[in-house]
Subunit: 334 residues, 2 copies
């Protein structure tokens, strides 16, 4: 690898519930070092933080970059953060509360650190480098166990009073509908997430209407993977296709409401479910969204599949650090 | 009136379906000249534009200000606009389409002109001078014949691909609900606007359950005013109170979805219906919104009544001109 310039090296770290990924980028956002590690969230915040530090160090070694050559570090977290203070407010899967992560990492590397929500990071990554490049308003939706969302508006990640990401998963879609993990009823995510699909598919499998699923996963919710849903549909399990299409339709209707509120140029759909069946899913969402908006909005937006896969988050983290520390100084650095 | 400085005089004009209001403001946004005129929309765009010009001229005369002392003019329009081009895309009540209003007014006054949506102007007015002062995210909702909405985020009016205001009135609240003017079903505005309330109240009056309304307005929708609804409730017409409370509840539920998406600091409710019964209505909306959000969002927002009444729009227009022409040059001026 060639000699690295001292400036404009950016590091991203995407912390997930099961694994973390650190990547070192050059000024053109080409990856020059990369390291994965298991999160081991059950070992507690101190242990996870140590593992994060080690992962970043090893990615820097691979990139042949010293910490003091780094312009900034961006870290994506599965939960709400206070960006200004650099604090992780909560990360349910990791059992974290109020962890001053920017300060901890800054102490270690003596470089500016910005902490952001992982879904926001993913949407920002797609906005900078992927499917939503240079949109004025880019809305990202990631259906998984829950349904995460984020919005980049004129180059800024929209954040609210709570500094959280967009909680599109808890937009109400079915008055008095199914019980949601948040305690409300009829939220988008309890009606249309991959988990919602799995529950309905398991029911169909139990009744003998989804033979491929029954063979591959039985009726255990946690065993039903997105790839199996795609396989079952390809094998002709009509019930599975109907269930997936219905969930996409419900999500599309919620997208319609977002279009009425924010009038985005582009809606990016990402995550394992979308990756397993991009055409069927994206078209079903787009079609339902078009039916759910006023005529004058029908042609104002596109619905597309994310392009960057797992890299969206880590690229978004590094790029958000670049944006943050190129335009302002943060508390952690002053 | 004292001698007026040559700079920092701002003019607002709020164009409504029935009347227009122009106000000249000094640098501290004190009104120094003001003129009202009927719109007479049926006479066509040329006639209305001439009346707008005359109204601004007369307000300037009252303010003892020459046109060349004006720093900028902001005009609020009841419909979607293209702000960058200064074009009114559509104003249904005026039968306008693609009117290059900024150009026309600039030709007349030789001063920079910005055109914006009237609801956006109202929300911006409340953000700058009224109930939403210095909020990070201020959401404004104005239930009337329809339900208008707007959002000011970090000092900017949020605009979408279509350059329109936020179409909160067409967020879906009742799947397969009542028919809306936009062609969809179950939109917020067909379920909960003042018009929706009037229709339900007229039905109750017809059945003999709203005696005060029957006496004051009969069962003719257009004759039922917000003040009569308030009077009927005060007189003990229980059916009217239940209908208004239900509409407020439906709107509060939609506010809940907006909170999940945008996490605003403050939601400002304005317009005649709110002014006629601020306490009952605002509390009913707030209570429903709190019930419709996840526990961690319950304390993140306030719901309040607008403070500026009819002045919100015209102040917002002038202040938006100030913001626009203090920070950038527009096409109309270069």
């Amino acid at each position: 690898m060639s000699t690295v310039e001292k400036t404009n090296i950016w590091v991203g770290l995407d912390l997930g519930g099961t694994k973390m990924l650190a990547t070192v980028y050059d000024a053109e956002f080409k990856p020059i070092g990369r390291k994965r590690r298991r999160t081991k969230g059950t070992e507690g915040a101190d242990s996870v933080t140590s593992r994060m530090i080690r992962t970043i160090r090893e990615a820097l070694v691979e990139a042949k970059v010293e910490p003091d050559q780094v312009s900034g570090i961006g870290v994506g977290i599965p939960g709400p953060v206070d960006q200004e203070k650099g604090i992780v407010l909560e990360a349910v899967n990791l059992n974290w509360q109020n962890v001053p992560l920017a300060k901890l990492l800054h102490k270690e590397f003596d470089r500016p650190v910005v902490v952001l929500n992982d879904v926001d990071a993913g949407v920002y990554g797609e906005y900078r480098f992927g499917a939503a490049k240079s949109a004025r308003t880019a809305l990202g939706i990631f259906p998984g166990t829950g349904i995460g969302g984020g919005c980049v508006y004129e180059g800024q990640i929209i954040r609210g009073k709570r500094n959280s990401c967009m909680e599109i998963g808890h937009v109400s879609v079915t008055p008095d509908g199914q019980l949601c993990g948040c305690g409300l009823r009829g939220c988008l995510e309890t009606e249309a997430s991959r988990l919602a699909i799995s529950a309905e598919v398991a029911k169909a499998a139990f009744r003998g209407e989804a033979p491929t699923i029954l063979k591959l996963a039985g009726t255990t919710l946690g065993d039903i993977r997105s790839s199996m849903l795609a396989e079952a549909i390809a094998a002709g399990d009509k019930a599975v296709e109907q269930i997936v299409r219905r969930a996409a339709r419900v999500l599309g209707t919620a997208v319609g409401s977002c279009v009425h509120l924010l009038c985005p140029d582009i809606i990016v759909l990402g995550g394992g479910l979308v990756e397993a069946m991009p055409e069927l899913y994206v078209e079903a969402v787009a079609s339902a969204a078009r039916k759910a908006v006023m005529p004058s909005f029908v042609d104002t937006f596109k619905v597309v599949a994310a392009k960057l896969g797992d890299d969206a988050g880590v690229m978004g983290c590094a790029a958000w650090a670049e944006k943050t520390f190129t335009t302002q100084k943060t508390k952690a650095d002053t």
